[in-house]
Amino acid sequence: MSTLLEVAGVSVSFDGFKAINNLSFEIGEAELRAIIGPNGAGKTTFMDIVTGKTRPDEGQVLWGETSTSLLRLSESQIARAGVGRKFQRPTVFEDQSVEDNLLLALKKNRSPFSVLAFKKSSKDVEAIADLADEIGLGDQLARKAGELSHGQKQWLEIGMLLAQDPQLLLVDEPAAGMTLAEREHTTDILKQAAKTRAVVVVEHDMEFVRRLDCKVTVLHEGSVLAEGSLDHVTQNQDVIDVYLGR
């Protein structure tokens, strides 16, 4: 399996505080990975660096077969290269309908002029309907996203990510605020997505991570503490120390 994303020796500090400290991380083309770690371990900063929101002080972020550096690209260029991101708080366009939200995300030419000339084809309508069914919003297409419940917004955002059809999906705490049934459905969607692309899930909830049943990376103080199956890392003495206190 070839490497899709390689983060090598990345460090970043904010006002002297090292949020990420010589972090190295790799993920393959079709892989599901969970990242866990205590608060302040650098999980969100890691996502910020990969998506171009934060520039690291040193290190490399290489992407795809050609190993292009993501550090020179803007956020929107990185997104177009195939990195999709779901934020911790659900961020959807609240003043727009579920359908418009999905249409915005649907993989199309993003330049202003082609968007201006864009006309929705019957194929697009179909794709949106399929996606909406998958995320359980099939009968809510005309509703404003702002009216949806918290869990529905989380799903709409996941749906938007799938519509983007990225090669790498970065998902920040997807299960927050979801009921048990909703969590199970979310797990299924993520596992399904990971069959054709790389999915990185940041999560606090160990039960949820266990259900994902995948390789786990533990972050602590901005670097990798342990990596392996969930059972393997939870038996690691360092991890126990960090999580349960010394």
Binding site: E75, F93, D95, Q96, L104, P112, Q164
Partner: protein, 410 residues
């Protein structure tokens, strides 16, 4: 496609019908072509109001839909006016000069005519030759192109610099104020080439139409302004109704999210900023021949602030709101500052509306912003049964320009 566009935007049909009725009615009541019930000065005022409505639509696009509070769009309006004004003044002076030299014993050479025109136009600023900016003033076609090109290019360069540095919110507003102030100060200089604080005058005299009375010309300009407004309204409605509108409303409410979807946000902002600057330039080019005079005070920072006030009072984020606001406030302003409103005698103090009108406008702006964010356009909601969402006071996005709860529709 055309049908679905109109079906999705019922306001376009209603708007164009009302505009047509208005324009035809004024024509029949005008001095030039009708009963004379409406004076020529009033026809000109109405025509100029339509130009204000056009720039208000541009402002609504850039602020109400894209969330960029530009306080500099009157710079583009003024530039459009200056560009057409140069041709009007040149061609008209040429007519006069040629007529006066016709009596000379030797027929004047071309360079003598040009020199005489220059002396006529620039004598007032102590110069007798054409500055480089007047290079194409003798060509109507080129000046018409410049009406679009000069505001467009200025907006393109300014917007490119501002947006790529990620200047947003109040800082961008200040920057646009600085831009229009800098332009005004530059134009105030006598050696700016545009006659300093004298500005360009006599623009109501259309070259080659000396025999057409102003009463008739004013109706023509009313029609031209109405057509431009109708086209501007349709264009804006088309831009905001499709996926493009979806993207720019997304930028207004949550810019970062749009970026992470892969849209080049800066490109979109630049596009909207530039296209609205062009609309403003066209509005200005139609306005100043009706006003008759343009001077640097027209692009003073306050003008652009008024524009924002119009759109806010009319109702941001809906095109007809911008039109209503611009028409209502500017006509009211004309009425109040015209000196025909009776003063209010309080015994100890007399309220003179000519000066107190601005205070009243300021207060109403604050009141509308606080208590009726939907503006006058919100009254339409009473008829079409549009409701606002109940979000317990939460805005519709994290950005400063995002739609407020009471502006949104449920």
């Amino acid at each position: 496609m055309e049908r679905t566009f109109l079906v999705r935007n019922p306001s376009v049909m209603v708007f164009i019908a009302l505009l047509a009725v208005f324009t035809i009615a004024v024509t029949f009541l005008s001095e030039g072509l009708g009963t004379g019930f409406v004076s020529t000065a009033m026809v000109k005022t109405l025509g100029m109001t339509l130009c204000f409505c056009l720039i208000a639509i541009a402002m609504d696009l850039v602020w109400g839909y894209c969330g960029i509070l530009s306080l500099g769009h009157f710079a583009f309006f003024g530039l459009g006016g200056y560009m057409i004004g140069m041709w009007l003044m040149y061609a008209r002076t040429e007519d006069i000069v040629v007529a006066s030299l016709a009596g000379a014993e030797l027929p004047p050479t071309d360079s003598e005519i040009v020199d005489a025109i220059a002396t006529q136009i620039f004598g007032v600023v102590g110069s007798d030759e054409f500055p480089w900016v007047w290079a194409f003033a003798d060509s109507l076609l080129i000046q018409l192109i410049l009406v679009v090109a000069v505001p467009g290019l200025l907006a393109l360069v300014f917007g490119w610099l501002a947006f790529r540095s990620r200047v947003t919110g109040v800082y961008l507003s200040i920057l646009t104020q600085a831009m229009t102030l800098a332009l005004a100060l530059y134009l105030f200089q006598n050696d700016s080439g545009l006659r300093g604080n004298n500005g360009l005058s006599g623009l109501q005299n259309i070259p080659g139409m000396a025999d057409t009375p102003q009463a008739v010309l004013s109706v023509w300009f009313l029609w031209a302004s109405a057509v431009a407004l109708a086209i501007g309204y349709m264009f804006a409605a088309w831009v905001v109704s499709g996926k493009f509108g979806s993207v720019i409303r997304g930028i207004r409410d949550d810019e970062a999210r749009v970026r992470f979807l892969g849209y080049p946000v800066e490109g979109y902002k630049l596009f909207v900023f530039t296209i609205t600057a062009v609309m403003a330039g066209i509005a200005g080019a139609l306005y100043y021949p009706q006003a008759g005079i343009i001077n640097p005070a027209e692009v003073a920072p306050i003008a652009s602030i008024y524009l924002a006030v119009w759109v806010a009072i009319g109702g941001r984020g809906r095109l007809y709101g911008a039109v209503i606001g611009a028409a209502f406030v500017s006509l009211l302003s004309t009425w109040f500052t015209g000196g025909r409103v009776p003063n209010v005698d309080l015994g100890f103090y007399t309220i003179e509306w000519v000066s107190w009108w601005q205070v009243a406008l300021g207060v109403s702006f604050v009141l509308v912003t606080l208590f009726a964010p939907k503006g006058i356009g919100g009254l339409v909601d009473l008829f079409i049964n549009r409701k606002t969402p109940d979000r317990h006071g939460a805005d519709l996005g994290p950005d400063t320009g995002s739609l407020r709860e009471k502006e949104a529709d449920a």
